[in-house]
Each structure stands twice: as structure tokens, then as C-alpha cells.
């Protein structure tokens, strides 16, 4: 059962990475416009916000 001593921390670490990634997306406001994001991916122009 010693394998658990490696597997459990790995599982937790991976979970934490996922959590950190999610919190980053929240902080960078990626959930402000979910409907719009779904449409934007279909548009051909590659302008970024702020581009002129």
C-alpha cells in the first residue's frame, strides 16, 4: 500500500493545478460573456480587444 503515499499526493496536486487554473480564469474575467465567447470563435476576423 506504499504506492498510496505517492498516488494520493499526485492526485491532490493535479486537482490543485486544476483549481488554480480555474481561479485564474475567474480572475481574468473569462466568464463575463459566455454567450459571446461561443459566437466569437465562429467569426473569421482575428482582431483582439484593443486592436485597431
Amino acid at each position: 500500500m506504499n504506492i498510496l503515499l505517492i498516488l494520493v499526493p499526485i492526485a491532490l496536486l493535479l486537482g490543485l493545478v486544476g483549481l488554480a487554473a480555474f481561479l485564474w480564469t475567474v480572475r481574468t474575467r473569462q466568464y463575463e460573456d459566455l454567450d459571446g465567447a461561443a459566437w466569437r470563435i465562429l467569426a473569421d476576423d482575428d482582431t483582439l480587444p484593443g486592436d485597431r
Binding site: 486544476g18 483549481l19 463575463e32 461561443a38 484593443g50 485597431r52
Partner: protein, 769 residues
């Protein structure tokens, strides 16, 4: 309407009229927020945004405009964020470009701190939700291993790892519940969060004790999963409110900021709060009355739609009393202030609204009503379990406590916590699709209770702007009439311009606007007039042929008449029919005159119609109905309706309503059709039924789970399955609300109600609203 004093000067070039220099530009200027680098950010609420095509139309349409740094459309919130290079770029360009694209927008005040606060709240909830989700998933993995046979040292290790995850998770993600529970207990009340907090904390403490002593059963997963499920409900609720509020955020600038005082032959500008009764003020055309006042010199027409809700201009002469907030439309007036700003009509309205709103504060949410019964019941059950086990086992303190905590965990209102918010969120989404914004979930609860609907007339049942219902205008003079009407911003002129359509314009000289009469000019050496029939008849070759409406004549030629009418809002007939077939009483309360009210009431089949109602009289009517046990829905739009919108049990306003009206209303509908009212009522009724079913399901679940827990038969595995299953059943049941459609385009075009029709009039070719 304008508060910047430029609207009623005669434009030198007719094309100037096309860009309205009105309050919207001023509002936008105030709404913009300047960044340190000089760029200005404007936020516009654009309800017309529907899909990805709208998104790219607006972004590609606005981006090439001069001075624009960036344009970003938010499809979810139906907002456009525009950043301009500096304050020199006129925001009017943005709004007129949006109008030209077919997406009219209203500015949102970025300085509104409340919206920023709300955003932080939902972000915090989302973070808490993410952490609770992480904790719940990992603890569940470990718990499943324990349930499937891990024992001895492995089990203890897993329990300890679970504890390490659970304690910080609960400490962070449980805060919204703990805070709410503490604040409820502080004022000596029980809410749903009290049993939740108690169960979570007790379960955590007991599980910690168990795992440190090598016990077999720990409830870490139950505690964290509970928080996770409840946060889902909380987050959805918060997000719904944020979404609705974002579209309703208003800028209230109905009051003048200051006044021009005439003293010792000099004019001096003073701030509003320094205006004293007795001062002589000058109010130019296009300005609002700063305080209640009496006219000393000058003649003009006032837009009193704030006070009466009536759109027709009201002529005033020396000696007339005028209310604060009314708009001076055509001539400059000298008035004597009768009140200070604190005692004015406008201040009175604001006070009435505040007073009316405190009455509504007594409404108790369905969920809170349940909690008042539920929380004590759960605590009594847990206490009874504890005592019974203590007696049955002959004083085994540990065993009794264990059973009591199991009761608390198992009864924990997972399903109850989700029963209401999920239904409200789905209801709000359905309403949002139909262009109806809901500010608060309780609005839906209150809407389901109503039995009486009160309507305002102008702006609610009718569109509020006049249109030409009929005219006998010959083709010959049209270019003259068109040019003349184009030189005035009077609502009647706008209507006539619209009616005559585009075409050639005649060359006019010496154009003058006569306050209270109309507009006059010289055309090819002959006088031409457009305005009041008797005034126009003086130059015409015949006596006046109409008493109402507007006439036009070229000197010595025959008169042409324009009959003005109000358009019924789209779908008004169908909406009232639907409300009546739902068994609701309908009434009409209007500040307008007897004739106009009776015409609209008769047309729509409303039996009880009251004309000439002041704001106080409207509130009185609502109070009378409420005293008789009725639950009242108020539908209105004007400032004069705002107090009654606040006083009624629940209220709706069209998006065209004044700021105060939109703020006071629970629902704001952005589509023109009045069909929004029965649709919202239908959704509210279905939501109410579903909430009841959900409570029924949750209670049925408890009827099974509680006896098991009291008998000491609930293991952590059973608790986890029971809680998840009940939550899923409740959510699945709530989802049924998302079926069924809204025929938002019901009814064709607006139907005109002709105000005056003389024989020989040809029906209007275009009766547009």
C-alpha cells in the same frame, strides 16, 4: 427630453434636427469614466443584441468611427463597452451610430458603485464554489475508497487526508452561510443558514474527533458536498440578479442642477439648494423647472408628462403654477420660486417612493417562510433524538450525540436550499429571453399572487408619442409643410415630419416659432403657418375647420388639418384579453384627461378607469385595493407612477420608462409588446407550482430519511446518496420550467386610436408607433 437648454433654438440647417442634441448626449457625457491615460470608457446597455451576428455588426460598425479605441460587445449582459481616445470625442456619435445600425442603446453609469459591489460578490461566490467543488470531489474519491473496503491504517490515513482538505475548504467556502447565520442569530431570528452552519460545523467537528481516534465513520464528504450544492444555488441566484440589474442601472438626473436667479437687474447662477422661495428665476426653453414656481412673465408650453403622464404640451401664461421637474419647451419664462428644493414636487415624489417601498419590505420570501418552520423543527428533532438515545442507551453520551448529528446532516436542506433559487434562475432566464428583466427572485413569487392589474395609460397602454392619425393635406404644399415642420422639435412637428416622409424641402425665410401657437415663416413672399388651428386660420382663406390637432396653411389658401392620435402599444388587446381570461381584474389609472382615458379604456374593454389621477390618488387606490385583500400588479412608466410602482405588491415598467420608474419596478420589459405582462404572469404561476412541488419532494425525502437517522441507521454512505439524490430530483423538476414559448411578436403593428376625425380626412397611410 432635454435639460441642457439647446433643444428649442431654431436650427439653421434642417439636417441639424436629425442629430438630437438632447439629454442622451448629456447623460452619456456624465456616464463616461475617464482613465488616467485620458481615454474615456462608456458603457451602454443595448437590449437589441440577440446573437453573434449582432455582435460582429456592432463591433465592425463602431470600430472605424474616428476617435474610438476599442469596442467590445458583451452578449450575455447585452452591453457594449466603448473606449474613446479623449473627452473630445462626442458620445452622441456612438449612440447615433448604434441607432443607425438598428441597436438603440442607453448609457449605464460606470460610477455606480453598487454594480461593482455586486460583481465582487458573484466572483467571491464563484471562487468559493470552485474550492468547494475541488474539496468535494477529492474527499468523495477518498470516501469511496473507504466505503469499498479500505480499513485499518489506510482508512485512518484517508480520513486524515480528507480532514486536511475539508477543514480549509469549509473555513473558506462556508463563509457565506456562517455570515448569514450569525447576522440572523444576532437579531434573534432563525433562517435556513442556521441549521446549515450548525450541521456543517458539527459534522466537521465529529468527523475530526472520529478520524483522530481511529473511528470507522467520518462525514467529511457530507459536510463539503452540502456546501458545494448550496453554493451552486447561491451563485445562480446572485448571477441572475446581477444580470438583471446591469440592464436597469439608471442615471437619475430629472432635477435641474441649479437655477438662473434674477436680482437687481443682473442674472446669477446658483446651485439648486440655495434657491429660496420668493427668488425670481429665469428658465430658458429646454430647461427643467428647478423648484415649484409661479409664472411672472412670458408664455410657453410645458412638458408636464412627469406630473400628469400626459404627452401633450401644456400652455402656460403669467399666473400659472408650475411643478419642479417639468420641462419648459418653447419660450423663456421668468418665474417666482414658491418652494425651496427640499419642498418641491420632485422631492415630494422621491419621499413618497421611499415611504411606499418600506411597506413592501414586509414581504417574506417563500424560502424564509419555510425556514421559519423548518429550522426549529430540525433542531427539535435533533434534540429529541439526542435525549431518546441518552435514555435508551442508559447514558451513552457519545452514541446519542452521534445520532443527533446524523439527524442534522441528513435533514440538511440541500433540496430545500435549491428548491427556490433554481426555479427562479430558470424563470429569470426564460423571462430574459422574452426581453423581460427581473430584479429579484421575490418578484416572481409576488407576481404569482396577484389578482388585480392596474395600468397607467400614457407610455404604458399607449406608446406616448403622438402620431398623425389622419390628414387632408394635399400633395401641393407638402414640401412647404415638410420644411416648416423640420424646423421645430415639438412632438407634433416630429409626428408631422414623420407622416410627410422624406422629399423635397421648400426654401423658407424668416422662420419663427411662436410659443403656444406654432411655427411661421415666409415662403415665396407669402406667409405660411403650422400650428394651432385657430392661429393658422387667421392667415388662411377660410375659417378653421378643426378644433383639435394641428393645421397648416399658406396665406390665402385653404387649410390642411392633421389629426393627432395616440398609438396603442403593440399587443395591448391580446394582453388584456389574456389577463382577463386568467381571472385578473384590470383597471386603468391615468393622470390624463377624461376623454382620452375613456377612449382607451373603451377600446380595450377596461371597465374601471379613473382619469386625472395624481400620484397620491394612485397610491390611495392601491391602498384601498390592498385593504380589501387584493394583490396588485402596477404597470406604469412615468415619474408620476413611480410611487405607485413602489407601493403595489409587484410592478412592471417598459424599458422606455423614466429612470425612477425603472428603478421602482420589479420587472422591466424591453420589447414593445404588452404581451410581456401576461407572459411574465404565466411564468410566475408555473414557477410557483414548481417551487411547491420541490418543497413537496424535499419533505417527502425527509419523511424517509429522518426516521432512519433517528434510528441511528444512517451511515456516511447513505447520507451522501440520499442528499445527492434529493438535490438532483429537485433540480430536474425545476428544469421543466424551461419549456414553452413566448410569442413576443404577437399582434401586428400598433393600432391607432384616432383622437379627432373630421369628414373628408383620408386615413393615414403609415400609422407607425
Amino acid at each position: 427630453m432635454s435639460c441642457c437648454g439647446t433643444a428649442f433654438t431654431l436650427p439653421a440647417d434642417p439636417s441639424d434636427v436629425a442629430v438630437p442634441v438632447d439629454a442622451r448626449t448629456e447623460e452619456l457625457r456624465h456616464a463616461g469614466r475617464q482613465a488616467p491615460d485620458g481615454t474615456v470608457t462608456y458603457l451602454l446597455s443595448v437590449p437589441g443584441i440577440r446573437c453573434g451576428a449582432c455582435l460582429s455588426t456592432i463591433e465592425t460598425g463602431l470600430n472605424p468611427l474616428p476617435g474610438i479605441v476599442s469596442v467590445r460587445v458583451n452578449l450575455t449582459l447585452r452591453r457594449v463597452t466603448v473606449v474613446t481616445r479623449s473627452t473630445d470625442v462626442s458620445p452622441a456619435v456612438i449612440t447615433s451610430a448604434l441607432d443607425a445600425l438598428g441597436y438603440p442603446g442607453t448609457p449605464v453609469d460606470l460610477g455606480d458603485l453598487e454594480t461593482l459591489g455586486v460583481r465582487r460578490e458573484s466572483t467571491r461566490l464563484l471562487t468559493a464554489l470552485a474550492i468547494a467543488g475541488f474539496g468535494a470531489a477529492n474527499i468523495m474519491l477518498l470516501s469511496v475508497s473507504v466505503w469499498s473496503g479500505a480499513d485499518a491504517a489506510t482508512r485512518d490515513l484517508f480520513h486524515l487526508v480528507s480532514a486536511l482538505i475539508a477543514v480549509p475548504t469549509v473555513a473558506f467556502a462556508g463563509q457565506p452561510f456562517f455570515r448569514s447565520a450569525v447576522s440572523a442569530l444576532r437579531v434573534g431570528r432563525l433562517n435556513m443558514d442556521v441549521p446549515i452552519s450548525l450541521a456543517v460545523l458539527l459534522a466537521l467537528a465529529m468527523s475530526l474527533y472520529e478520524s483522530l481516534n481511529g473511528g470507522a465513520e467520518a462525514y467529511f464528504d457530507a459536510a463539503v458536498t452540502l456546501i458545494f450544492f448550496l453554493l451552486v444555488g447561491r451563485f445562480l441566484d446572485q448571477r441572475m440578479r446581477e444580470r438583471a440589474r446591469s440592464a436597469v442601472v439608471a442615471i437619475s438626473r430629472l432635477a435641474a442642477r441649479g437655477a438662473t436667479v434674477l436680482a437687481d437687474g443682473e442674472t446669477r447662477y446658483v446651485p439648486l439648494d440655495e434657491v429660496q422661495p420668493g427668488m425670481v428665476l429665469r428658465v430658458a426653453a429646454g430647461e427643467r423647472m428647478p423648484v415649484d414656481a409661479m409664472v411672472l412673465t412670458g408664455r410657453s408650453e410645458l412638458d408636464r408628462s412627469l406630473v400628469t403622464g400626459e404627452s401633450a404640451p401644456f400652455a402656460v401664461a403669467p399666473g400659472a403654477r408650475v411643478e419642479a421637474g417639468t420641462l419648459n419647451m418653447s419660450g423663456s419664462l421668468e418665474v417666482e420660486a414658491l418652494t425651496s428644493a427640499d419642498d418641491s414636487f420632485l422631492a415630494e415624489i422621491v419621499r413618497m417612493m421611499e415611504a411606499a417601498e418600506t411597506g413592501r419590505g414586509r414581504y417574506v420570501r417563500v424560502a424564509d417562510r419555510m425556514a421559519r418552520i423548518y429550522a426549529p423543527a430540525v433542531h427539535l428533532l435533533a434534540a429529541a433524538t439526542f435525549l431518546l438515545w441518552l435514555i435508551a442507551t442508559g447514558g451513552d453520551f457519545y452514541q446519542a450525540l452521534y445520532a443527533a448529528i446524523a439527524v442534522l446532516i441528513v435533514t440538511c436542506p440541500c433540496a430545500l436550499g435549491l428548491a427556490v433559487p433554481v426555479v427562479h434562475v430558470i424563470g429569470a432566464a426564460r423571462l430574459f429571453e422574452a426581453g423581460i428583466l427581473m430584479k429579484d427572485g421575490t418578484g416572481l413569487e409576488r407576481l404569482a399572487e396577484i389578482d388585480t392589474v392596474l395600468f397607467d395609460k400614457t407610455g404604458t397602454l399607449t406608446t406616448g408619442t403622438p402620431h398623425v392619425a389622419a390628414s387632408n393635406m394635399p400633395a401641393a404644399g407638402r414640401n412647404v409643410a415638410r420644411a416648416l415642420a423640420g424646423r421645430s422639435n415639438h412632438p407634433a412637428s416630429l409626428a408631422i415630419r414623420h407622416y410627410l416622409g422624406s422629399g423635397s424641402l421648400a426654401e423658407l425665410d424668416d422662420i419663427r416659432e411662436w410659443p403656444g401657437c406654432g411655427i411661421a415663416a415666409i415662403w415665396q413672399g407669402r406667409r405660411v403657418r403650422l400650428g394651432r388651428p385657430d392661429w393658422v386660420a387667421k392667415i388662411a382663406g377660410q375659417a378653421e375647420t378643426a378644433t383639435e390637432g394641428v393645421s397648416f396653411a399658406i396665406e390665402g389658401k385653404s387649410l390642411a388639418n392633421f389629426a393627432l392620435g395616440e398609438s396603442l402599444r403593440t399587443g395591448a388587446h391580446e394582453a388584456l384579453e389574456a389577463l382577463r381570461s386568467d381571472g385578473l381584474n384590470t383597471e386603468l389609472l391615468s393622470g390624463d384627461g377624461e376623454m382620452a382615458v375613456r377612449r382607451v379604456a373603451g377600446d380595450l374593454g377596461i371597465e374601471h378607469a379613473a382619469a386625472g389621477q395624481s400620484p397620491a390618488a394612485k397610491i390611495d387606490r392601491i391602498r384601498t385595493l390592498q385593504a380589501g385583500g387584493a394583490h396588485v400588479l402596477m404597470v406604469g412608466d412615468g415619474l408620476n407612477d413611480a410611487p405607485s410602482l413602489a407601493a403595489a405588491n409587484v410592478s412592471m415598467a417598459p424599458a422606455s420608462a423614466c429612470d425612477a420608474g425603472r428603478l421602482a419596478a420589479d420587472f422591466v420589459f424591453t420589447r414593445d409588446t404588452l404581451g410581456s405582462v401576461p407572459f411574465a404572469h404565466g411564468i410566475a404561476l408555473r414557477a410557483k407550482r414548481l417551487v411547491r412541488q420541490n418543497f413537496g419532494l424535499a419533505i417527502a425525502y425527509n419523511c424517509i430519511a429522518v426516521p432512519l437517522a433517528m434510528a441511528g441507521l444512517v451511515t456516511p454512505l447513505v447520507a451522501a446518496i440520499a442528499m445527492s439524490a434529493s438535490s438532483i430530483v429537485v433540480v430536474a423538476n425545476s428544469l421543466r420550467l424551461s419549456g414553452g414559448g413566448f410569442d413576443g411578436k404577437a399582434g401586428t403593428s400598433a393600432q391607432p386610436v384616432v383622437e379627432s376625425r373630421s369628414p373628408g380626412f383620408e386615413p393615414a397611410a403609415e400609422a407607425t408607433a
